[in-house]
Symmetry: C4
């Protein structure tokens, strides 16, 4: 048996089956909880086809949970044993209780029971066991979010909606259960009117067409409790929805606010419209390429080794293209990578001006530049091109201008930093001197 199980392959997240199943089971738990609580409330408990569908689907879920890969923190675990062990430790017990048809067993033994007997109440409880599946909802939402990688605020909004439906359903059924609904209507009509009463109450509307019977302490106390909890929770939800909606695109909101400040500031300085538009377009460029998050922050927080790894990943190719740095050590490249400063140039900006004394070289990360000698375009360079490296070797005037054609993201390597590096790595210094000697020929 065990060997058989081991043969079943672990269902990895790649094939998207996991996400599908999680979404399905989420919706299924929502409906089954409503159906089961509805039937308990009106005493309609029978092992019919709906009952067996629930039992079957929840059994399937237990089975599949042994074979679907899981995530602990950010590591995906595909080992069947670890998955099983983790499942047994976490959700197995509630899942197990939810799918075993205890009610059916009791039904077989005791048969259909009269209302208001002890056995009847006992069987109501047994019938309600699948509601335990709600315990797993939080986990399922987490799994879906991580698989689809959507905004956590959207997840929270959906989760709020889920629990709101469950909550309203339970309050409404409680209202029916204590006999406050109109008994002469059909069960479904009672249910609809109970939901109507629930919403009218917790949204603090209170038309007064449905209200507790003045002679029933039970109904009055039930209403008091719903008023305290329901109204609080409803107010909390409304408040949270505003907040969540506001947070869904917080980056954009911050960007818009920043733009507004820039705007006011430029107007108070009476800058000409052409410069104002240049500034605005620049910020739009930043927004579109960086989504408003300052990438600088990301690296400064990280440990040295990790930030170097990221920088290496981002800039390795671009550095390898420079003839100066070919045949140099990995360690050396790592050092250079940390010395690069990101700079942005606007269209038509001169990055290098012919005749200036150069004190740095550039690596073009994105965008396009033109090489001009005596104001004639002699070449164009695209993303990934290094230029101006002679300035690192000798104090000469720039022999050509470089002009940005589009917005350009560049990395700048200053002579100062480069010289420090040379003095630190004598082998590299030798290498450079050789290249210089060759070039001067």
């Amino acid at each position: 048996m065990k060997s058989l199980l081991n043969k079943i392959p672990v269902i990895t997240n790649q094939c998207r089956f996991n996400v599908f199943w999680n979404i399905f089971i989420l919706i299924f738990i929502l409906f089954s909880s409503i159906v089961i609580s509805y039937r308990i409330s009106f005493g309609l408990i029978r092992p019919d086809i709906y009952y067996w569908i629930i039992v079957f689907v929840f059994a399937m879920d237990v089975f599949l949970s042994f074979f679907m890969d899981i995530r602990i923190k950010y590591e995906v675990i595909c080992d069947q044993r670890m998955i099983a062990r983790n499942y047994l430790k976490t959700f197995f017990i509630t899942d197990f209780l939810a799918f075993i048809p205890f009610f059916f067993l009791a039904f077989l033994i005791f048969g259909q029971q009269e209302n208001k007997t002890f056995l009847h109440y006992f069987m109501l409880v047994l019938y309600g066991f699948p509601i335990l599946k709600l315990y797993k909802i939080r986990h399922i939402f987490g799994e879906i979010q991580e698989s689809l990688n959507f905004n956590p605020n959207v997840r929270r909004l959906i989760a709020l909606g889920f629990w709101f439906i469950i909550g309203v359903n339970f309050i409404a059924l409680g209202w029916c259960g204590i006999g406050a609904s109109e008994k002469d209507r059909s069960f479904f009509d009672q249910y609809i009117r109970a939901i109507y009463w629930t919403l009218t109450t917790i949204a603090t509307i209170g038309y007064g067409d449905y209200s507790p019977d003045k002679n029933s302490n039970l109904q009055i106390i039930y209403t008091i409790i719903v008023e305290i909890i329901g109204v609080g929770v409803f107010g909390y939800i409304i408040g949270n929805i505003s907040l969540l909606i506001a947070n869904i695109d917080m980056a954009r909101a911050q960007f818009m606010k920043h733009m507004e400040e820039i705007n006011v500031s430029m107007q108070s300085k009476n800058l000409p419209i052409s410069i104002q538009n240049k500034v605005k377009n620049y910020y739009y460029y930043l927004w579109e390429t960086r989504k408003g998050f300052d990438t600088g922050n990301l690296f400064t927080d990280l440990p040295h080794t990790l930030s170097t790894e990221i920088l290496m990943h981002l800039n390795r190719d671009i550095i390898a293209k420079v003839s100066l740095f070919q045949h140099t050590d990995e360690i050396f490249i790592k050092e250079i990578v940390q010395l690069l400063e990101p700079v942005v140039f606007l269209p038509n900006d001169y990055i290098i001006t012919q005749g200036e004394y150069g004190d740095c070289m550039y690596f073009l990360s994105s965008g396009e530049v033109e090489i001009l000698i005596d104001n004639k375009v002699i070449n164009k360079l695209g993303a990934g091109s290094p230029f101006g490296e002679t300035a690192l070797l000798k104090d000469e005037k720039r022999t050509a201008s470089v002009k940005a054609v589009t917005y350009c993201d560049l990395y700048r390597l200053s002579k100062e930093n480069f010289d420090k590096l040379r003095s630190k790595y004598p082998e590299f210094d030798e290498n450079i001197k050789k290249i210089m000697a060759e070039r001067q020929k």
Copy 2:
């Protein structure tokens, strides 16, 4: 035909016609949406004069949209072809459906229909096509805001108001449509009472004088939906209005808060009232001239070339006045501009004291100063004047005092930075030496 169209000039935003038309069409869409939905709800569909006015105005709007300049990001586009292409890609389809009198065509073919037949419902739908114009509302608001350049929070407030009216109108008409209104009243009275019910419900008042018929599931379910959505949206709007009002003058709010902190801090230090008032007046000066935004931030975020351009625009004239810097290169002025530090002096402050060793020169950006020799006023200087430049050339004591008469915004250029510049630009250094030699004669 095409050549004819090309002769029609593009209506640019300069002549303000665009703003006028956008505001008109905004209000017109609001009213026509209400009128059309009202008539559909009560089955009052006829191709009467109101109908033809709507058709005509929306046709005009389609026509004009081909000839009004547009903005993409911050660039105004006046080319008739690009405008037409852009319009066809964006709002043409809905605009087109909204103005074609489909209903009239159907009316010609089928004539007036009995209630509750399929054709009747079909013609209701055709009659409702102009409501599609609502799709363009967001765009129109954006256009108006950019033309008039008003506070985006004010725009959002107005937009909220717009959609609130539309929303309440639709909910109320829905209430009439499902037969929940008092049938024996006139259509208009039914409409007023439906609006009354809608507001009483979504504002969670719920008098209970109008509430769904207890025997109508349809009305109860409709109310449930209005309660969930309407109440949520109403709460969201109330919450947003507070926030928007708070944000309309956020700069002022932040300023007031800062003043409060300053106040508490000065009181806890037991500063004399005269100094406290000096500090407060200083902050009021800052607020009035800079609207509370620190202009420093604006420049630090920008790329070097752009911030230089802004600085050049702001300070070029003032620098050109200094005889030292006349006959100097454009590049050189650019360098100086970046070395200026903004400083503020209060009325009666001594900017330069006679007899001190000077280490900087100043450019008076705004305000008025007095030149004093031996405490006698010998001259006054207004905005745009440079002074103290001899300190940049030789280590002498200041030969005169300079005293601020009003609040003065100055730029400071230190000898240290100036010397760096001289060593960097040998031509300029030569120039300076010549001027010094001449002066010393």
Copy 3:
């Protein structure tokens, strides 16, 4: 006449009469607005004693406004002419209209009028003129707040309360005015019930015992308007009250939050309780002496001359006590003052340890210290004492320890800064050398 007026002295704020009058007139405007609007609403307009009291008090206010000092920004203006001119420009017109007994004049001419005639309505309007005084409320609140210098959030709370009462009063009287109140009750009972209806509506309670007549469009539309505006404003007020209350002691709230963070941080580091209590007590000390505002910020924002003035005010006396700095220039003291760094020592901390090499001197700003030689207390110093100044002159080991007895706020002057100063001011340097020579004898 004019010369007579000039003899009347300006009532300055010192004698507190201004504040008293402002508070009185504030309350009086509240009551008179309610009384007048009540009488207009029920048509009870007669030139009785209450009417003449209002006329008299408002006439007094106009008179006094010519003689009470005013504030423009933070300057108090006591010149009678400027006061009069300012008053004529600002509130004179409404104040004038409010006190002239137009109604009485009309009453003399036309006599008591029948209800619902044009003249009756005209006289209702004339009777309502004193309500114009509400225009001045904002100004009066501002005056009171500045005189008493209380928290601006408290002011806003009180102002909110004021306008809330006025608003509820007007809505309620409107309700009576359109005939929605129970006509068979007394005027006062109608008023009370109208207020009850107003509050029940705008607080969104909506019992439904009072609601608009289903057959009166006027009442229904009035209710719709109250629902939209009243509910919005009520929600806004509730939201603002929370915010204002939260802001009243924001400094404390920030402090408490900071303490909480410190707490968690110390617990996660497993620091012993004794150190934890030391840290907590230190922050409590900071809170009690500085109210949580970092005084550093205050000075950095200010222009150089102003911050120097504040520092001079705070530290002048303490510096003048040092024998080294006696007989030195004012300019020199100004320089020193800017070099002082504030430091705090805890009880039992050693500020100076005997035998150490000293590199700074201290000025004790508040607190008490002990001088110890070889662990024996030989002296105590209180606030205002300088010590350790020999370290500024020569590189010697400290000859005594100094220990904090209580929490001590000190200013530190480092030898490094002191030496810079000496090299900058040769006269001072000479002075110091002399003192050193004398001491060495």
Copy 4:
């Protein structure tokens, strides 16, 4: 008597009796306030068993208050006299009035009184004296929180709940007291229905089944007051609960938000999933070990002596293990401790690479590292180990690599700082030179 009292030992907080008693008295005050106000409202005042229990418990509380240790700021005071003096100054008077059976004394003198006589009202007031205990509630909450050291937001939530119950109880009893409840029901039923009315009103539901008698001005005015205050307070509470819940785990919320930003940033840079997971896991590690609070901040705010004390506590042991620093002065260790920089390394990161020139040594604060020579693991070090100290003495290449096995928190001591220390402390420098000489042998 006094000597006897002195023999009773002070009950310190160690034995937890204080917390127990405070919680008990808190709940007891809640119940007794409700019971007493209930009885006063319905005129059920009699010196029965419940009355005597209250008298007895409150007498106990007065007695115990003389013997329970108290806290002033963060110092625990155990001196019996100071406790007594403090108690007499603070809560003794109200506690005293609350426990003396004034009512019983009056009952003995006057006997049971008829309703609505003056004496009856007087005795109602006397009966109500124990409600004065509510004055102490705030203090009790503070005591409990400090003893159990739980989240202050949780405390505020519980306190809000407490006062909410008290408030609703008083409003409901007021409603009964003014005769608005249904007189033909039992007292308890009236009370339940009054609470139902109260909640329905302040939660702004307003069914309208219970509302003030239209003919009773008293009831209408009472309702108006409840509407203004109750609704405002209820709204305030709902708003605060949201805020408090949001603040309970603010650290986590900030962490989650930061993670979200990191996520977006990494996605926009197209970093490979493996690096993304590394970054995420790193932040999770930080969160788990530091709870999101940057410990750096904690120390920078503190005075030098205090931060040194904390650093000494945290790092003393680890430094004492380094043979270099043995036999060195306490003062010297203090200096070193301030030069340590915290650094983090990830699993598999090389902390030291064989063959590099070293410029620092490390102290392993937590985690595990491997020592490798020529890529062979030759040793493992655990928390508390120093390594790489030879680099501080001479410029040699590293003779071994050190690799992090787990996440490692280290402190770094650079050669630069170490050399400064040597030049500052000549004795220490001698010591180091000796050790070096020995090692070189």
